[in-house]
């Protein structure tokens, strides 16, 4: 890497080619961006909604030709503004940033909750090989919020669903299904992305079963290039040391993981 920048890292303006409703609260936005082509699963973009904010979003698609997508749930002001954009509107993107998932092989388990499925969708496409056996658990609050169920079913025969209200699949959390799967089979790797409480449970279960895990974390992001320190968890900068942390790394931050995060002022707040 040159010590001086050769390509300038500022928002690239891209046009939304498609805005597809995935669930009543989640949409996928597709756009062309060469810099995202072939990005490894788990990397993220900083997405600028001009006049509103800039927020980190996982890539849910990154084709070799540069067709890329982010999958957005309306939760706060910025994500709602993004959610309300239409085909033809523009956003700015910079990245992709961070260290994504490492591809393992053998008997693999994926457990996603809510929009955590976005980065697992991209991962799933990379893991779909005849030599791998993949079990995919999709968790959501209710049936209509199960994200990427059809897409996952097209790739893997083993898709397990859980809903908090029992409206579809097992009643309970994705980690309840994970516990059952871990009791029945020996896995070579667990991948997880979702609410942090869920990922922390997944980490504990994986540790009890002696299975390595990779979890994609979320923290407040500002610079996303390892300078500002807004996204620290323990000694790690989630933006460049993560967002995906391994079992070994998660053990080093177990006082913070699943327990607290830093707010916009840098104060510790309970998760």
């Amino acid at each position: 890497m040159s010590a001086y920048p050769t390509s300038i890292d500022k928002p690239r303006i891209v046009k939304i080619e498609e805005a597809k409703a995935e669930t009543p609260t989640v949409k996928t936005f597709t756009f062309h961006d060469k810099a995202c082509s072939g990005a490894p699963p788990g990397q993220f973009l900083m997405v600028w909604i001009p006049g509103v904010d800039e927020i980190p979003m996982s890539l849910s698609m990154a084709s070799p030709a540069g067709l890329s997508a982010i999958t957005v749930k309306k939760v706060g002001e910025a994500s709602e503004a993004l959610y309300n954009l239409k085909r033809g509107d523009v956003i700015g993107v910079r990245g992709p940033y961070g260290r994504g998932f490492t591809l393992a092989s053998g008997n693999l388990l994926m457990a996603g909750g809510g929009t955590g499925m976005a980065c697992l969708m991209l991962l799933a496409e990379k893991l779909a090989k005849p030599t791998n056996k993949v079990t995919c658990i999709i968790g959501a609050k209710t049936r209509s919020e199960l994200l990427f169920l059809e897409r996952m079913k097209r790739i893997f025969p083993e898709v397990v669903t859980t809903t908090d209200d029992g409206s579809y699949g097992l009643k309970g959390l994705a980690t309840d299904a994970m516990k059952q799967a871990l009791a029945k089979q020996k896995f070579n790797m667990v991948y997880t992305c979702g609410p942090e409480i869920m990922m922390f449970k997944a980490f504990q279960l994986a540790e009890q079963s002696n299975v390595p895990i990779q979890a994609s974390l979320e923290r407040i992001m500002r610079c996303s290039i390892g300078l500002c320190g807004s996204c620290m968890i323990g000694e790690f900068r989630v933006c460049i040391d993560g967002p995906v942390l391994t079992s070994q790394e998660l053990r080093r931050v177990k006082e913070e993981f699943g327990a607290y995060k830093r707010d916009f002022t840098g104060r510790k707040t309970k998760i």
Binding site: M1, A3, Y4, P5, I8, D9, K10, P11, I13, M46, W48, P50, G51, V52, D53, E54, I55, V90, G92, R94, M221, R222, C223, S224, I225, G226, L227, C228, G229, S230, M232, G234, E235, R237, R262, D263, F264, T265, G266, R267
Partner: protein, 303 residues
């Protein structure tokens, strides 16, 4: 051959090498400060801390420009009461921890300064020069700078550094005022006021519209400021602005800096930069036949 000595002393603080982590970079948590210290920094400066918790501006807060970064974070910080624990943790790394502080008045500066001293800070660096927050134009006024330095000096016993802004007609006037008020060292310089506009949407990119430019783009400006200020005052000057390679650090020291700060370059070269630049300085000293890094400070003044 005897290994060249890279240790320096600034206002009584002993640094194992002249490289200091600049304010605003990886300075929000005790963990991150400690990690930078463990990576080889001679001292670390915290994120600027004010009297109350502050969220800062909405994103975008940072973008890259040709040969530099433009940022307007808006001084996010957890407030002086909360930050004490981070200082205590950072100090476990065993290098001096310098608390960067700001306030809306000289009383607030003095209050935050004394809280940081109680928490264990080894020195203060007064941020009178953030180019993009409403509490930040003090450093453009010689008299306001004097008043703040005087007030802080009265309320603490640890050394007080003042970080000067280059966004002034004559930096030497401000530097002299800070020295007269009792400053123990001067950091030259903070970022240059700047902006960037996206040509597709026509919008300023930073949410705050205006921000501060750092990185290689501002290095020649910073070298000039260090040169002028170090010739005019009798207190140590700490250079800051675009230091990316050991050659940059040596250039600042020849210009008159007793130590240098590194910030933006961490994004370009990672945390190994502290060890790499220290080794580069050491090799330069040995090649040139100097026994100590102190010997090169201000050498360019004689020409």
């Amino acid at each position: 051959m005897v290994e060249a000595d890279v240790r320096v002393e600034i206002a009584g603080l002993r640094l194992r090498n002249p490289l200091v982590l600049a304010a605003g970079v990886l300075g929000v948590t005790g963990f991150s400060l400690r990690r930078v210290a463990e990576a080889g920094a001679g001292a670390v400066v915290t994120k600027s801390i004010g009297p109350k918790p502050r969220e800062g501006y909405a994103n975008p807060t940072l973008l890259e420009t040709s040969c530099g970064f433009l940022n307007a974070m808006g001084l996010p910080n957890p407030g002086a009461n909360e930050f004490g624990n981070e200082i205590k943790y950072a100090k476990e790394a065993g290098v001096p921890v310098i608390a960067s502080i700001f306030g809306a008045s000289k009383q607030e500066f003095a209050h935050v300064g004394s809280l940081m001293e109680k928490a264990g800070a080894d020195a203060l660096e007064l941020n009178v020069s953030c180019p993009h927050a409403e509490v930040s134009d003090f450093g453009q006024s010689p008299d306001l700078t004097y008043g703040i330095v005087e007030a802080v000096k009265k309320s603490v016993d640890i050394p007080v550094f003042v970080k000067l802004t280059p966004n002034v007609t004559d930096i030497v006037t401000i530097a002299r005022k800070a020295e007269d008020a009792g400053a123990d060292a001067l950091t030259c310089v903070n970022t240059l006021k700047a902006m960037a506009i996206d040509i597709e949407t026509g919008r300023p990119i930073l949410a705050n519209k205006v921000g501060g430019l750092s990185g290689p783009a501002i290095k020649p400006v910073a070298v000039r400021c260090v040169y002028e200020v170090s010739k005019a005052v009798n207190i140590p000057v700490i250079g800051c602005g675009g230091i990316t390679h050991w050659e940059d650090a040596v250039e600042f020291m020849l210009a008159g800096a007793s130590a240098v700060q590194i910030g933006s370059a961490i994004a370009l070269r990672g945390l190994d930069i502290f060890k790499d630049i220290t080794e580069g300085i050491r090799a330069y000293l040995e090649r040139k036949g100097y026994g100590s890094v102190k010997e090169i400070v201000g050498l360019s003044h004689k020409y």
